[in-house]
Structure formats: C-alpha cells, structure tokens
Amino acid sequence: MIEYPSIARTGKYFVTAILLFIFQMILGLIMSFDFVLRGTSNTPVPFDILKSLHLNVMVLWLLLGFIGGLYFLLPKEVGRDVKYPVLIDFQFWFLLLIGIGIIISELFFTGKNWWLVEGREYVEAGRFWDILLTLGLLSVVYNVGITIHERKRHMSSPMLVLAAGAVGSILMYIPGEIWFNSIIAAEYFRWWVVHYWVEATFELIAAGAIALILLSITDVRREIIEKYLAIEVALVLITGIIGQGHHYYWIGTPGFWLFVGGLFSALEPVPLFLMAWSAYKDLKENKKPMQNKVALYMIIGATLGNLLGAGVWGFIHTLPQINFFTHGTQITASHAHFATPGTYLFLVLGFAYIAIPALSDRTNFFQLRGKIGFWILVIGFLNMIIALLLAGIIQVQLQRISGMSFMEVQNILLPFYGWRTIGGVIALMGGLVVTYDIIMIGRKKIV
C-alpha cells in the first residue's frame, strides 16, 4: 500500500507534536490563572518558567510537525525514498530528548545556570541545548538535502519552497545564539530568529505545504496551483525580510527603521491575501469529491488564520504611529494568539490529517469528530483573541495614553483576563477532541 517505506516512520512526529500542543495549552491555561488571581494563586511553578515552557514547547512541536510533514511529503515529490530512513527515527528521539532536557532545565535550573537557561524570550533554552538542537536540525538538512540531490524526478516547485523554508528556519536559529554585550544588538538578532521564522521561512513552509496538500486532496491541475506560488514566495520575501524593521522602532536603533519597517511590514498582508485567494480559487475549480473533509477544514483554517491573524491583526499595529502606543501591550498578545495557532497549528493538524489516515490505512475515517474538534478550537481561540484585543485597547488608552499605573490597569482588565481563561478552557477541549480523534485514526497502526 505504502509506496515509500520510510514515510511509515513519520507518524510519531505528528502524534507527539499534537500531544505537545496540548501540553502547551495546559501551560497557557495555568498562566492565565496567574493573571486573574494575581499574587494569591501561587501556581506551583512561577509565571516566567511557565511562559518559557509555553514558548519552547511550541517551538519543539512546530519543528516536529514541520519535519514530519517534510519527510512525509518528500519521497513522492522526488520519486525516491529518503536517503537515510533510520535518521528519521534517530532525529525524532534526539529532538524529543533535547525537548525533555529543555523542560527539565527550565523547571529546575532557571536562574542557576546560564548554559542551561538563558531567559531570553523564545530562545530561553540555554547554550548547551542550542548547540545540540542546531546539530540535530542540521542533520535533518543533510538528510533532506542529499535526498533531493539524488532525486529521480524533476522536483515540483511547492516541494522546493517547503524544503527551502525548512532549511531557512534551521539556519535562522543561529543568529539568535550569538552573545552581544549590548541589549540593542542582542534584541536586533534575537528578532532574526523570531521574525524570520514566523514571517518568512515558516510562511514559505505554509505556502509550499498548502499547495502540496491541495494537490493531494483536489484534482486541480498542478500548473494552476503552482501558478501563484512564485509570486507569493517572492512577495513574502520582499515584504518580510525588510519588514523585520517593525521590531526595530524602539530598541535603540536609528529612526530610519520607522520608515523602512513601517513601509515594508505594512505590505506583509499582500502575499497572505494572495495565498488565501488562490487557495479559494483552487477549491472552486475542484471537481473531485473530497473525502478528507477534516484536512480540508484545517487547510482553510490555516489560510484564513494566516490572513486574519498574521495579516490583519499584524497590520493594525505595525505602523510606527500606532505601534508607539501598542508596543508591549496585550494587543501583541492578541495578535500572537491569532497568528500562530491560526496558521501553524492548523497547518500541522493538516499534515496530521493527511498523513495519519494514509499511514494507518483508514482513509475513510469518520469525519464528524475531527470537524467538531476543529470548530471548538476555533471558538476557543476566537474568544481568547477578542478578550485580549479588548484588554489591549483598554490598556493602551489607560496606561499608555492617560498614564495610569501598570497595576491599576491590570486590575481593571481582570474581567477580560477571565474571558481569556474561558476561551482557553474551550480551546483546550477542542484540542483534546482533535487529539483523541487523531489517536483513534492512527491506533495500533502507527508508532
């Protein structure tokens, strides 16, 4: 049944990614109680440790999901099996071990050893883990690169985009690891990791993956699906690479960034709009009855989440005139909780709903459960996003414009934080439904 035996090894990547996502949501939910019960809740683990785990666990499951997706889609596109199939297993366990190491370091060594925990947002994992992680990821690059190099078939452009995005992501982890004495340079290059991931290389992964998944579930011709891809990719790069400037407004870098960063990052929604629009057209054109409705839901979710969460929610606070007041408020939190799950969670779930049924030979699985899970996730996240957006608007007005003190404003925001917690509970339930569904589809067949 399975043409290329190595893809049977990718199932565990998706299942682990989804379980880690559940873990991330639980961490977020606990943190939300720190906001509503400030000072009295005494959650067993302090806020900063929960927060670093919340981010690092996300990075880990995103990487696992993307690598799994890459290994799953690659053989068919290059017409040969992955060069070193054992590496797929080995890399999985290696990354998982590093992940566990990072979690243990965060929990027990925060503040004690800078080599184990660095306490910089998103790249909290200490130097020791950074080096191991980079080595592990480079071995993925090697395995993918050599497979592509020895391909048996002309490689399609979506696969090329996906692979380029994955390689780019791995390389972009490195600038954030360089030590600088100055906070300005340190922040300057820390954003190379974060911004170039979510607004450049991950977007390439998304563009390539959405095209490949549409190819596999619809009968739209390759040329049509690939038609817009090059323009999308070029626009993502042109707007995203210099759009970096929107992180350089207030960190001590010169004022020309206000102009350059504002201009280019304001254009960042354009390729996202194009992605959503071309996906819409492809689906309109499709005549083939689509069996795998859940995967389709996830892909539509990813394109819309990308357009609204990254595009629109990003645009509303990317201009320096606005960002001057919204920078460092809950507006950013609202944007982050829309763009990241909206795009990349649904993308990884899309991979999972393509791969797991295929690997477990259950392609005619029961669809309703996955759809319900999808909608509960959407409802939960939308509640969080709206609660945080309203909280952010109030915070901007009271703290940044009227000049009320931080804590006074936090007290006023309590009901909105309560609303956010409710949204988080709903989202967690949706996540559990999806996880249960995926485990049931893959049960006993994939390890």
Binding site: L37, R38, G39, T40, F47, D48, I49, S52, T110, G111, K112, W114, G119, R120, E121, E124, N181, I183, I184, A185, A186, E187, Y188, L229, A230, A234, L237, I241, I242, Q244, G245, H247, Y249, W250, I251, G252, T253, P254, G255, F256, V260, F324, F325, H327, G328, T329, L382, N383, Q399, I401, G403, M404, S405, F406, M407, E408, N411, L414, F416, W419
Partner: protein, 193 residues
C-alpha cells in the same frame, strides 16, 4: 525558469539591503547615541559592576519571562526600560526591591531564587543602562511607563461579579461566532446536494 529568477530577486535584493541597513544601525553617525554597556556601572561595597555582567544576570534570572525590556518580553509585570528613573536612580533601593520582591503582586523575591547581592547590583547596572538607551522616544512622554513612580497600587483578583459585567458581551460575540459556523456548514451541505 522565470519563476526561479523572481524568487531569487525577492530573496537576494532585500537580504543584501539588510547588510547596509545593519551597518547604519550600529556603526555610523546615524546610529542612535546609546551608552556603552561596559561603561555603565554601579558600585556596591567597594566593588564595581557593569551592565555587561548585568545583562547576563538579567538573562539568567529570566526577568524577561514576566517583564518586558524596550517593550519586548512578557506582559505579566511592567516594562523595565525606565524603572531606574522611576526609582530615582537609587541603586540600593532597587537592589533591595529585587531581592525582597512583592509576592502579593506577583514579583517573586529574587533572594528565594538564590540571587546574591552582587547579582542584584549587577542587574541594577543593567537597568541603569537600559534607561539611558535612545529608543526614539518610546515609551511616550507622559505615559506612566516613562514618568511614573514605583507602582504602589495593590493587586486585585477577579471576582464572579467582575465577569458578570461583561457576560452580555461574551454571549453576543459567541452568538456571532456561532452564526458564522452555521452559515459555513449549511453552505457545505448545499454543495453536497
């Protein structure tokens, strides 16, 4: 072939532009007048600590996991860029604040995290440096983040009546979400027929 060229142009031109932009940002007369971290120091018991050591301590104790600095980080505590100004440049008071914290408001006593007095003063040196950065005027003049005092307002917790005030809003928004879902699902049904 043309497509590859388009993508390469999209990649190379902006990437190459980042090189002069980065140089202008740090090494030219355009660069903002920022302090040299090695030269920003505080002294404690006859020893001198600079902002480079301070940055390392700031990272090690994960202040950025609750606070933001130049607006980046977490939003559980207030932004720390100008806190040195808020405490009126009183090194000893700031160091004592860090070590004893305000548990009732969520600021952990750093002493419980085995922060030494030396590390506290190192962190103070870093905060002294942060406040000297030329951040193009951020945070805005007049906002609490720039001119406020150390925050004396006690923290409150949510009460059930607090959430009732906005329950109508929650119901309304979820009603809208529900309608969108229903419209979407019914259109899918029609396509089937």
């Amino acid at each position: 072939m043309n497509n590859v060229r388009l993508v390469l142009i999209g990649l190379l031109i902006p990437s190459l532009l980042m090189i002069p932009y980065s140089i202008i940002s740090f090494y030219t007369d355009f660069a903002n007048k920022n302090p040299e971290p090695a030269q920003v120091t505080v002294s404690f018991q006859g020893k001198v600590y600079n902002a480079i050591e301070g940055k390392r301590a700031f990272e090690q104790y994960q202040c950025m996991g609750c606070h933001s600095i130049v607006g980046n980080g977490a939003y559980f505590g207030p932004d720390l860029t100008n806190v040195y100004k808020r405490i009126k440049g009183n090194d000893a008071a700031l160091a004592a604040y860090l070590l004893s914290g305000v548990p009732a408001k969520g600021m952990p006593p750093m002493r419980e995290r085995e922060m030494s007095e030396e590390d506290a003063y190192r962190t103070v040196a870093f905060l002294k440096y942060a406040q000297m950065l030329d951040t193009n005027g951020w945070p805005n003049n007049g906002s609490w983040d720039r001119d406020g005092n150390i925050d004396g307002v006690p923290a409150k917790q949510i009460s059930p009546s607090g959430i009732w005030q906005i329950i109508l809003g929650i119901i309304f928004i979820n009603f809208l979400i529900f309608i969108v879902i229903m419209v979407y699902e019914s259109e899918k049904e029609e396509e089937h027929d």
